[in-house]
Amino acid sequence: MSSHPEILPDAEAQCRHLADLIRPQLSRNPALVGIYSGGAWIAERLRELLDLPEEIGLIDVSFYRDDFAEKGLHPQCKPTVIPFDVEGRHLILVDDVLYTGRTTRAAINELFDYGRPASIELAVLADRGGRELPVAATYGAWAVELNDHENLVLGKQDDGRLVWRMENA
């Protein structure tokens, strides 16, 4: 069910909901990979909630984006860090907002340069529709309808709490 939000929901509660959705799959020993920056925060939170012993992977898709020709290189790219062997692993890619699907595409491409995973699933806090590629979330905490000019942004407060805010694009 999706509807335009009047009040933005609690991102921390959504993280707990997302963890509940993932928990039945833990027998496959999945590894988490968070997409900078929001997805990385959520992946770290999921790791705590699911009590996973392994370090999470962090991915910056700047080198794999499809809009390099129009926009150039993002001025603040961060190193991708994958601290485990991707080959044969079940991976859960984590992002804050699923929109066009292009970031997911770039992240999947990058992961394959580390090896051939057994599977990749996608966990997102918010799915705002508007897909331009055949991408779907395996685990989603919140389906939301937004206008084109609206941008849903996940932020991290000084006390470490994750919070949503709305920006105008």
Binding site: D60, S62, F63, Y64, F68, A69, K71, G72, L73, P75, Q76, C77, K78, P79, T80, V81, N109, E110, D113, Y114, G115
Partner: protein, 319 residues
């Protein structure tokens, strides 16, 4: 003043010289290079950023190492690389530099990496590309005359930041033939821009340019004084051709005064790092015990150089 390296939005579109670049651009290059370091450590050492782009290495002057590292960097960005050894081709048949460029642009070149014996040659190419309306073609200076070697300067800064973290507390000494060194010039501009409070130049009077003090550089002729308490020692290669002229008595004499031995290095801070742009002349400017010692970071410089060149090429190609 018009800066031909920057586009109208103030973004880097050519890399011609470190002089005139703001700190934010130098920092952006170093930060981006840090991300590329990780790429070179993977099994698949390649990202698709410059897929389908053509990088032309135009080396009007020999340099195996610099050309090779640019070639590796471009290939790790998935570009196609064409190496042109100009001495052996068109220039020897009388074609002008800019005619050569026009021909290569007609072959759909996207980026030129230029090494030239004449100071300013890469500027000439960048201005020409602008004049003919090809702002989509980019130039990276790989060393022009005595003027600049900006990617070497940047990889030196990357090395310093890697080991020392912060530029604003450092004492850095550059030792040797500063007069003929484009590396020294690029290093001095970069160190100053990044906020290094004390840059020293050490060398014989005949190999130091005049007016170094105008760049804020402290000049020393005695290595024992100049190396005292420095955090970073950048040794320069003594070019053999300088030895034949009147500038220097002999290689042995030079080594006695300006060669970096373990005894002289002991005057620097205990955790000082020793850098050298290569190729080294062991026993001329550096003692083997120092070159192979625990304070030398000369081989890491080479590794960092690839990541820095990947960063420079991907930033200019995107702007």
């Amino acid at each position: 003043m018009h800066n031909p390296q920057l586009n109208k939005d103030g973004e880097l579109t050519h890399l011609l010289s470190i002089e005139g670049l703001p700190q934010r651009i130098l920092t952006q290059i170093l930060d981006t290079a840090a991300s590329f370091m990780e790429v070179s450590a993977r099994d698949v050492k390649k990202v698709p950023l410059l897929r389908g782009k053509s990088v032309f290495n135009l080396f009007f002057e020999n340099s195996t190492r610099t050309r090779t590292t640019f070639e590796i960097a471009a290939k790790r960005l998935s570009a196609d690389v064409i190496n042109l050894d100009i001495n052996k081709s068109s220039a020897s048949k009388g074609e002008t530099l800019l005619d050569t460029i026009d021909n290569l642009v007609a072959m759909h070149a996207n980026l030129f990496v230029v090494r030239h014996a004449s100071s300013g040659a890469p500027y000439l190419i960048a201005e020409h590309l602008h004049r003919v309306g090809r702002d989509d073609v980019h130039v990276v200076n790989a060393g022009d005359g005595r003027h600049a070697h900006p990617t070497q300067g940047l990889l030196d800064m990357y090395t310093i930041r890697h080991y020392k973290k912060d530029f604003t507390q450092l004492r850095v000494a550059i030792v040797g033939d500063i007069l003929h060194s484009r590396v020294a010039r690029s290093d001095i501009h970069a160190l100053t821009t990044l906020g290094v409070p004390e840059v020293r130049a050490i060398g014989p009077e005949t190999l130091l340019p005049k007016h170094l003090d105008k760049l804020g550089v402290h000049v020393f002729h005695d290595m024992n004084e100049g190396l005292k308490d420095v955090d970073v020692v950048i040794m320069l290669r003594l070019q053999n051709e300088r030895m034949t002229g009147a500038l220097l008595p002999s290689a042995g004499e030079y080594f006695r005064h300006y060669g970096l031995t373990p005894q002289k290095l002991a005057l620097a801070k205990p955790d000082a790092i020793v850098m050298h742009p290569g190729p080294m002349n062991r026993g001329v400017e550096i003692h083997s015990a120092v070159a192979d010692g625990s304070q030398a970071v000369i081989l890491p410089q080479v590794t960092f150089g690839i990541a820095v060149r990947m960063a420079v090429m991907s930033i200019v190609a995107g702007n």
